[in-house]
């Protein structure tokens, strides 16, 4: 059980990362590609997700 969990969890997290990286890559917005300014809307909060769908 431990073995299955320890194989499954890292791989699922990696799948999420590549999916999100892919979505960002296709979105083509400036904010997604630069390190955002402190306190800006794209400094790691939900606003990023909302903009991605555009």
């Amino acid at each position: 059980m431990i073995t299955i969990g320890t194989v499954l969890i890292p791989q699922l997290l990696i799948l999420y990362v590549i999916y999100r990286a892919y979505v960002f890559f296709r979105a083509k917005g400036v904010g997604y590609f630069d390190f955002p300014p402190a306190g800006s809307p794209v400094n790691g909060n939900d606003t990023v997700i909302k903009r991605t769908g555009q």
């Binding site: 194989v7 499954l8 890292p10 990362v17 590549i18 892919y22 590609f33 390190f35 402190a38 790691g44």
Partner: protein, 427 residues
């Protein structure tokens, strides 16, 4: 079932790579670190995944993504030179079979690290590669941490071999490197945007790292943790609160650690009477003698060619247990000079960029990432004094990401001055 699942993950990497070519390079990082051939069963064990993914990444790059090639800097130049040099030393290696075997993995690490700035140019790409690096390593330390929590801590787990990242000291050192990285992601990740997921996830992984270190019973891990704690102490503005927090944080670990762990750690203080520790010092002395007779190095695995008695210990066939001594013995004076330049230029580059971004409030997250990589590299250098991991890929990923960030920083600070269009750097 595991093989099918891992094949599904590989399939996802490949499918998405056609739309976003850098994902093929992420697949290589995953295949290189997570080593899914060993985790899976059946046909996946025989697949040369690293070769498949690396070839795929380069083909896609040259066909579809050949934009804004990175500038050649001193680190990249020395990495390529080092790759050439270790190839030369392999030609005159004293033990050719063993040398060519190790060369195959070393050359892969050096070349991919030197070419990583081709693939990873933007924030999301750089964060993605660091996350894949982080989660791929989770494959190694998650079982150790879980077993420690369940009270199944043992000195040698014995079920995963004792080479590469399964070697206890190596994974302990890598875990210590990952703590600052996860603390950074907990605050600044843009891929994990929801703070309700991001914070518990990364703080949780940062907490698993010391647990896994405890379960390795490796003294190197304790030294690396100590170095990490010391750097954070000097960086901290509220030093008293930091000491109090560190003290309160350490107490629970001391209660759950088994007696055998304390017994092993006590040998750090009594290294003169500890055979294992004294053997290392004897090997280091023997290697310095060996390289005076072989100034161009003995090639990979040359420690097997060493003999003699130092500090009353016969060092015949003893491994180096120090990355710098490893490079010195295997690749001679030229090798150690190149190796030192690679690491020193990386630290110098990080210092320069930290200083540059420190005065720019608009680059806070970049500044914090640079500080994180600096800590990771110092922790690696400290730990690598006790284990021979000069060609272990983890440190080269830090070096390669530093090169990616150096290109990024030069674009945001130098390019605007030359009035380059911002959109030119998007993809």
């Amino acid at each position: 079932m595991t093989a099918l699942f891992l094949l599904f993950v590989l399939g996802c990497f490949i499918v998405l790579s056609f739309q976003a070519p850098f994902i093929a390079a992420l697949a290589y990082v995953w295949a290189d670190i997570a080593d899914p051939q060993k985790s899976g069963y059946g046909f996946i064990r025989t697949m040369p995944l690293s070769m498949i993914t690396a070839s795929f990444a380069f083909i896609l790059y040259f066909l579809t993504d050949r934009k804004y090639p990175p500038k050649l800097n001193i680190t990249m130049f020395c990495l390529i030179l080092f790759a050439l040099w270790v190839t030369f030393t392999t030609f005159w290696a004293v033990l050719p079979d063993a040398a060519w075997h190790k060369w195959e993995s070393a050359i892969k690490v050096l070349l991919f690290a030197s070419l990583m700035p081709l693939f990873f140019r933007t924030r999301v790409q750089i964060e993605a590669v660091l996350l894949v690096f982080n989660f791929s390593l989770l494959n190694y330390f998650l079982p150790r941490a879980v077993k420690f929590v369940l009270g199944q801590a043992v000195y040698n787990m014995g079920d995963a071999g004792n080479s590469g990242l399964n070697e206890t000291s190596t994974i302990a050192l890598v875990c210590a490197m990952l703590i600052p990285l996860n603390l950074y992601f907990a605050k600044y990740s843009v891929i994990f945007t929801n703070p309700l997921i991001r914070r518990p996830l990364f703080y949780g992984i940062a907490l698993l790292c010391p647990l896994a270190i405890l379960n390795t019973f490796a003294r190197t891990g304790l030294v690396a943790l100590g170095v990490f704690g010391l750097i954070r102490f000097f960086q901290s503005r509220k030093k008293f609160q930091y000491i109090l927090f560190a003290f309160l944080f350490t107490i629970p670990f001391l209660f759950i650690a088994p007696d055998s762990w304390f017994g092993r750690m006590n040998t750090i203080q009594t290294f003169e009477s500890d055979y294992s520790a004294m053997t290392r010092i004897a090997v280091w002395a023997g290697t310095i003698d060996y390289v005076s007779q072989h100034p161009w190095g003995g090639g990979f695995g040359a420690y097997r060619d060493q003999s003699g008695v130092y500090f009353d210990i016969n060092i015949a066939g003893r491994a180096y247990h120090n990355s710098f001594i490893e490079v010195l013995g295997e690749h001679g004076y030229a090798g150690i000079i190149l190796f030192a330049i690679i690491h020193l230029s990386t630290l110098a580059s990080l210092r320069r960029m930290i200083k540059l971004t420190g005065n720019d409030e608009s680059q806070l997250s970049l500044h914090e990432l640079l500080k994180t990589l600096f800590i990771m590299h110092i922790v690696y250098l400290a730990g690598s004094n006790f284990i021979g991991i000069a060609f272990q890929s983890s440190s080269y990923y830090v070096i390669a990401i530093t090169m990616c960030l150096a290109n990024y920083v030069s674009r945001i600070y130098v390019a605007p001055a030359r009035a380059a269009p911002v959109h030119a750097y998007l993809r």
